[in-house]
Symmetry: D2
Amino acid sequence: MKIGIIGFGYWGTNLVRNFANLDGAELVKVSDQRAERKQFLDKLCPKAEFCTDPAGITDDKEIDAVVIATPVFTHYEFTKRSLENGKHVMVEKPMASDRKQAEELINISEKTGKVLMVDHTYLYTGAVRKMKELIEQDQIGNIKYFDSTRINLGLFQPDVNVLWDLATHDISILNYLIDEKPVSVQATGVSHTGNGIENIAYLTVKYDSGFIAHFNCSWSSPVKIRMMLIGGDKRMIVFNDLEPTEKVKVYDTGYEHKTDEDKTRILVDYRAGDIYIPKLETKEALTMMAMDFKSAIEKGISPLSDKYSGLEVLKILEASQRSIKDKGAEIKI
Amino acid sequence: MKIGIIGFGYWGTNLVRNFANLDGAELVKVSDQRAERKQFLDKLCPKAEFCTDPAGITDDKEIDAVVIATPVFTHYEFTKRSLENGKHVMVEKPMASDRKQAEELINISEKTGKVLMVDHTYLYTGAVRKMKELIEQDQIGNIKYFDSTRINLGLFQPDVNVLWDLATHDISILNYLIDEKPVSVQATGVSHTGNGIENIAYLTVKYDSGFIAHFNCSWSSPVKIRMMLIGGDKRMIVFNDLEPTEKVKVYDTGYEHKTDEDKTRILVDYRAGDIYIPKLETKEALTMMAMDFKSAIEKGISPLSDKYSGLEVLKILEASQRSIKDKGAEIKI
Amino acid sequence: MKIGIIGFGYWGTNLVRNFANLDGAELVKVSDQRAERKQFLDKLCPKAEFCTDPAGITDDKEIDAVVIATPVFTHYEFTKRSLENGKHVMVEKPMASDRKQAEELINISEKTGKVLMVDHTYLYTGAVRKMKELIEQDQIGNIKYFDSTRINLGLFQPDVNVLWDLATHDISILNYLIDEKPVSVQATGVSHTGNGIENIAYLTVKYDSGFIAHFNCSWSSPVKIRMMLIGGDKRMIVFNDLEPTEKVKVYDTGYEHKTDEDKTRILVDYRAGDIYIPKLETKEALTMMAMDFKSAIEKGISPLSDKYSGLEVLKILEASQRSIKDKGAEIKI
Amino acid sequence: MKIGIIGFGYWGTNLVRNFANLDGAELVKVSDQRAERKQFLDKLCPKAEFCTDPAGITDDKEIDAVVIATPVFTHYEFTKRSLENGKHVMVEKPMASDRKQAEELINISEKTGKVLMVDHTYLYTGAVRKMKELIEQDQIGNIKYFDSTRINLGLFQPDVNVLWDLATHDISILNYLIDEKPVSVQATGVSHTGNGIENIAYLTVKYDSGFIAHFNCSWSSPVKIRMMLIGGDKRMIVFNDLEPTEKVKVYDTGYEHKTDEDKTRILVDYRAGDIYIPKLETKEALTMMAMDFKSAIEKGISPLSDKYSGLEVLKILEASQRSIKDKGAEIKI
């Protein structure tokens, strides 16, 4: 399997490192607009060829699979061209600039029968996989809320707002862990640069069952926080991604409520019990994702982070953007 | 100065302890519906008389000043009666059940010339006072955002939602630190008890200048968090109220942005510098508030936590409630 | 049961508060050299009489039990006189200034048949009791080491060094948790005040089995740390007393070793597994100790924190002092 | 400048990565006993030749400088042979197995005029350099104590005990920050493997001035701690190497003492003030060390981490070992 990577920036470098070491695959070409990146590629993976034109990859008949790590606004074009040229594609999140583009890419992928995968790396982490396992084992119970904070002093993206940049990760986790489909979103935010691209934003996603998800994202925080609370009626989870080893804490904590007979009072029973911190699988998520991509191509099965989940994330992001521009109005999905 | 306290529950106990030790004042009477509380009062402050009927305090001619620490729905009635009987009043936050009630109480207070003060204890803490000082010294610069998280496994209140219970504190701090008046609010939330009283809620407050404030409140979190971020263009503050001594951290962190000449790109300069943790005044906030109440009565000056700030908090709470019930619609203040 | 308390300083105040509320006992008298403390006692416990002379308590025929919370050098005298006057005694840790005094007090107590108890409050905390339970259930396995750090910016005691002040707590916990008797100690330390009383000291306690205990104590640290590691061959415990709720963490971590056949290499297997944070009993330790004292008097049974454990602590402290003065020489116990 | 590296294990890999990218130097050869490491070298640095015999490097006339990252017991031999063959040497810490060997290596280096440098990487970190700067600026005042804890669940070394493995780092920092020479050491420890190699050990280093240093090292802790306290009479430093960015905290905390006139009491004034967290240089320490090695060779100046500091560390380690074996006796240096 011959692989080409388009985009050799920060994340592209991680991808090159992983695909260069992937058994059963060969990284043959890497492209980046900046010609001076050739030198670094020669150090990192001397066997791979360098080109500045992405077409050198999308149109190369030798290449079986393309990995795309370029700015969001180019995802659609490079993915489409690669698929149309009969290649399998793994594209950075978010998979396209809007829902319509994503749906078109899915259509092409379905027609050509080639794998289209979105790089939601978090789904491959030991932490997220453990949370999925706990939920599937019904250790958490009915999940009542999901609350995510992902803030730091981050690079202001020139083309997408902070939700597209940061909440993408958390929405992909949400969708992976929770089966119910959202019905509407509301979002507010603020742009401190005057270019209409929010650097702080808050997103609420609503569901028919009463389950609620909330996202707090910022590129403007002096401190870095990556924390997620998942509250079930049996137990609750705190996922702190900055903890080196104790990332997932399971609280035997809950509350039950009942209304008394004359329905005037709510009686709530609290329970604060033991805490359990499971040991997590430590294999690098990116390595597992690269293996999943290769395995999906070889076996014709769907990868964990597939095109449909990529589309679901995009639906929420797109609706959130409309809500922010419409002063926080509720937008149906 | 003779003082009576109505309500001898959790917070009332703290008030009794403080007013019993206040120089130049005498705690003469405490009321609570539960007759069995008399025994505890006899231990805590044997000189104070006990009664079960609040009228024993609001109508007692000997009493100069009344402190009210009862459920929210009774604040209006007890405050009104005390003021009309010529007494000074300090009432628990929030000062009344709605804006109209609060405005009426303010009117009565203005007519009688008696002090009406709302117990926003946080304003008297060393942490909040230090933040006020830093802002007044222009060390923080233009403030761009305010982000507060106050969550824990808390008592579900039967009559008010989690914003009325918890955000009240943070809104009073916001109003104290920020001079600009808010223009609108948006809030979402969820009630897991089926009684329409939200136990998780998110509130965004918007301002004309682009400044934004956000509040994340929950009675359903397995972990306790009390954290506030205040981002200025000079420096940023992190206020973590659970830190025993390092509550206020000042980050010499910021970003400046400019648009390039052809207005197509935003250039952002980041700055991450030293951090400074000022030593805080450790005098108990409640003691300082009791002294401020006494001083306001004696000198006829306005206390720090005055009736007008109490009203401003109520305006935001009331608007937030309307927004939640109206599916998160933007509500003007 | 009529109780008198000698010493109404910082810790004495806590004792007064607890014994004033102890069911089935009556706090009748409190003594303190400083006459001005009477006023505070009148507020805290108006029913108790005040005196400045300790003899007002040790010699009062009405009093059944005496609680002593005075400087260390007075413990022996007040305890002896109280016991000789037929009273039960609970004395602050350490129980006396040296081992000989302690042994004499124990003799008197055995002769008079009165309870002699030492205030090792920590033994009554939920954390220490949980650790005892885990060890008794053999969840920790063979315990290999005990490592305690108790440092802060603390009051320099004028008469005893930092080990007598701080390590006392940890040694009492060590003795409670570990059945094996120590064989020798070594200690080093430094005095920054020139009066020969160490404000920083390090103590190692050795045992025949190879088990080792180490104590790091300081009054001169800018940060407060109260942490204890207990390493077993099954599991290990971290006890962080500054954590508000997650004080005891049990690590399913260990190592096993074997020597290979030609005895040249050691093979060590590591195991890092789940972590478990048990919920702790939250009843106040001081209350439980007061109840244990009363119960020991009434039922004639030994309290948890008895005179013999008080003596064992003293033996280690006394030997540590000799070691420090003898340049760290090993001192047999 | 042509460089060869002996030893291509965990640390050797980091060295290869850094020297392969060092401007003005060329990594020409790497040796490792395990022939299968060639494949990995081909990926990491394809231009470098691989050999299994260290002599391929120590005796290669093309090579100017040798970097040694092999087990401790081989340091002396490879360093000696390299120096005698006219090469500059950087050797892993500790520089040799005992003081005599180290002194011999220093002699050879002085005779040949070649650089001999010991890899005390910590000296090149932003944190240690900032602490050095603060001390040189007299912001800390007279330093009273140094207290280091470096514990984790670590690899049991087969040939050296935990002090040689872990305290080496901290002793090199101590020597770098503190000008005074130590006069004696005392150490205790325990071996849980029965091979006489301590996996837990405690070391106290004493100085004439009253300054004291203490080291707590363990391979058997369930938690990882890397913390250092440095107490001065002006300010105190806490260096927590596990903090991602806030590694060095400077506490405006101290105590002053005076004896009162009749010399019976010590009066201590406490001061707890602001805390300051300086921003640190983030350049990788290993890169700076490689640059320092090259610069020392080219300019004939002494590197920061020179052979004499390497010897000083060894003196303390060797004395600590004698003390442990002699039941903690005080060993003069």
